[in-house]
Amino acid sequence: MEHRDDIGAKLGMWVFIFTEILLFGGLFLVYAIMRSAYSTEFHQAAHHLNAFIGSINTVVLLLSSATVAMSITAVQKGNNKLAVILLFITLLCAAVFMVNKYFEWGHKIHIGLYPGSDLMLTLSHGQVMFFSLYFFMTGLHMFHLVVGGIILTIVMLKVQRGTINAGHYVLLENGGLYWHLVDLIWIFLFPLLYLIT
């Protein structure tokens, strides 16, 4: 009875991605305004971020995006086994990203640098804004990464079971689209937060 419309499903996913882009768009707008008000303080504050970890995470995310994209090719060619391996690599990358973030955030919280902390109140206004934006933006990004990870886990299990196969794989495509969105946002977050020293 239920008719199948893969293009419709993908269109729906794209429209959802637009809402996500604008959700982060609101934050980027705040960033733009604050940055134009406090550009020197942003430069100083950015020195406290570890550009090395940021770069590693960028590479990890790009790799994970590529493996998701490849997993679609694998499913299309009927090679579900390879697709599961590729998706597993993606999830592994996500885990690496999260571990890195854990250390990054952990270190800052350890030295007392987090929104509302006493140390924060001693900093200049521009630095407060920078760190607030840093925590809010990367925090929201991490939340999306976790959601994307959950979606891809479900997708991976379906690929393994064969409910996603060469004849019917729109769920994998949509899961992939969501994952690429996470990557896309990081592409902008990374230079704006880590590379403005």
């Binding site: 419309d5 293009i7 419709g8 269109l11 729906g12 429209v15 959802f16 637009f18 809402t19 996500e20 604008l22 959700l23 982060f24 768009g25 609101g26 934050l27 707008l29 705040v30 305004i33 604050m34 008000a37 406090y38 987090y114 929104p115 509302g116 924060m120 109140l121 200049s124 206004h125 521009g126 407060v128 804004m129 607030s132 934006l133 925590f135 809010f136 929201l140």
Partner: protein
């Protein structure tokens, strides 16, 4: 129409055919018609609550000085009145009720593109409303910020702002998913032969609306999350003591909340565009102009938000830029009004209740629109900013406009929804009371607003007494009109409705009343030379 004609082998959507019976059958139904009705019932409840709160405010304002409760209660009342009316009634409003009920039928589809997502949206709506209402009973008392949650007060006040804000966030999510669903439905599920420019104009207006829902709501979503983070974590984006900027909050808030006005009014315009050709039995004048003006309103309406902020300390450049853009948005709105009037010209008009309400809409919308222009002009705005004039203006738009279109839509599609007619005489009386009451309630507010009565004030100077008292009596008439309407519609079963009681031409009038579960027994098509409004 005879009994034999309306008797169909397929049971109507009102009959439970699934696993469950009764209430559970409704709550688990993914049928777009049932979901539309559930939205309608919920909205009528919320509207009644919001209206009662409004009357409570009017009672307090009957005389200057304190009457029955203090200023803090008053602050709480106008805040929750706004939250209920804006976020749970008029924003989902016509799109959620009639977009769900009528739009899929009008484009010749069995249902929306994602029926389960549609039901999920409804539950998010209920959840969001529940969270928003819970703010009244938990924490440190009802929020007192106004429905706009302006920073920095919304960050400093000790009242329960977080619950209200989070409720609005969830309601926004529901709105986004509905918009997403409608966009995909209209792109993928139109009847064969129905190109975009053969689609009826109510779906057209919903299409424009859906894009605003999808593209504007996320901005307020993130803004509301920022307010919560401000309160819990002190991130300080809007807190001047930490280097933040309260005006930035106003920008972000209105980037959504101005387009939200078009989320409300566009479907209302769409409904009126359906009703007028039906009751004038005449082809709509300027089909393409109306269709494109919906998109134009959606697009230009996205860039006029800062006309709410002329007195916020914004730059002079921004003020004239936004004033100019505000005037631009009046053009497509006026195009619609002219087209409606031109459609009626030389039509064979039948004064049925839906048409009466549509006329009421045009009248009230014009007053609302014209006063909107005087508010969009920089110079006058500075004088009447935050006065009762503004209150009167936006009630003329959201109540006189959206509300009356909503009533018109109920009277228009009611026979299709329930397969029953209603008493026209009673319906006309409800119009008389609603229309008189409405004008008596809000027109004096224009006058005392110009005289200097500020909005959101608990107390006032003696010279405003007459105006406030007239408004009180208007509110009572309005309430009576609403009750008459509810009695007309829901007190007793009317005569059986024919398939096409008004002589309409769109698809919904070609199927039984009430429609079967999957709407069409034979999927409809649109021929090469067919048009949506081919009267004569």
């Amino acid at each position: 129409m005879t009994e034999a004609k309306t008797h169909h082998p397929e049971p109507s959507y009102l009959v439970d055919t699934g696993k469950y019976k009764g209430l559970m059958a409704w709550l688990t139904s993914t049928d777009h018609k049932r979901i539309g009705l559930m939205y309608m019932y919920a909205m009528m409840i919320f509207f009644s609550v919001g209206g009662l709160l409004g009357i409570l405010m009017r009672i307090e304002l009957f005389y200057p000085g304190q009457q029955i409760y203090g200023p803090q209660v008053y602050n709480g009342l106008f805040t929750i009145h706004g939250i209920i009316m804006i976020f749970t009634v008029v924003i989902p409003g016509l799109a959620a009720v009639f977009g769900n009920f009528s739009m899929p039928i009008m484009i010749g589809a069995k249902d929306v593109a994602f029926p389960r997502l549609n039901l999920f949206s409804f539950y998010l709506y209920v959840l969001g409303a529940a969270i928003a209402l819970s703010s009244q009973f938990m924490g440190n008392g009802p929020p007192d910020t106004g429905w706009t949650f302006y920073a920095p007060y919304s960050i400093q006040t000790h009242t329960n702002v977080v619950a209200a804000v989070f409720g609005a966030f969830v309601l926004g999510f529901s709105s986004i998913l509905t918009g997403l669903n409608f966009i995909v439905t209209m792109h993928r599920m139109r009847a064969p032969g129905m190109t975009f420019f053969k689609m009826p104009l109510f779906p057209w207006s919903l299409y424009a609306t859906a894009w605003i829902q999808v593209l504007a709501t996320p901005i307020v979503g993130i803004t509301l999350l920022m307010v919560i983070a401000e309160r819990w974590l002190r991130i300080g984006f809007f807190d001047p003591s930490l280097g933040g900027d309260p005006v930035l909050y106003q920008h972000l808030f209105w980037i959504y909340s101005h387009p939200a006005v078009y989320i409300m009014i566009l479907p209302a315009m769409g409904v009126i565009t359906e009703i007028i050709p039906t009751f004038a039995q005449k082809r709509i004048f300027g089909y393409k102009a109306i269709a494109i003006s919906s998109l134009a309103i959606a697009l230009v309406g996205y860039f006029v938000w800062a006309h709410h902020m002329y007195t916020s300390g914004m730059s002079t450049t921004a003020r004239w830029v936004f004033s100019l853009l505000t005037f631009l948005v009046a053009v497509p709105s006026a195009i619609k009004v002219f087209n409606w009037v031109a459609t009626m010209y030389k039509g064979s008009i039948s004064m049925r209740p839906p048409f009466l309400f549509a006329l009421g809409f045009i009248f009230l919308f014009m007053i609302g629109g014209m006063t909107g222009l005087s508010l969009g002009a920089l110079a006058t705005n500075v004088h009447v900013h935050d006065t009762a004039y503004v209150v009167a203006h936006f009630h003329y738009i959201v109540f006189g406009g959206v509300g009356f279109a909503f009533f018109a839509a109920i009277y228009y599609w009611y026979p299709k929804m329930y397969g029953r007619m209603y008493n026209f005489k009673m319906a006309n009386w409800s119009f008389v009371f609603l229309f008189t009451g409405f004008n008596l309630l809000y027109f004096p507010q224009f006058i005392i607003g110009i005289m200097g009565m500020p909005r959101r004030y608990f107390d006032y100077l003696p010279q405003f007494t007459l105006g406030q008292q007239l408004s009180f009596f208007g509110a009572i008439l309005l309430a009576i009109g609403f009750i008459i309407m509810l009695i007309t519609l829901f007190s007793k079963k009317g005569a059986k409705a024919p398939d096409n009681p008004w002589g309409g031409r769109t698809f919904e009038w070609r199927i039984p009343s009430p429609p079967p579960l999957e709407n069409f027994e034979v999927m409809p098509e649109m021929g090469e030379n067919e048009e949506p409004y081919d009267y004569k």
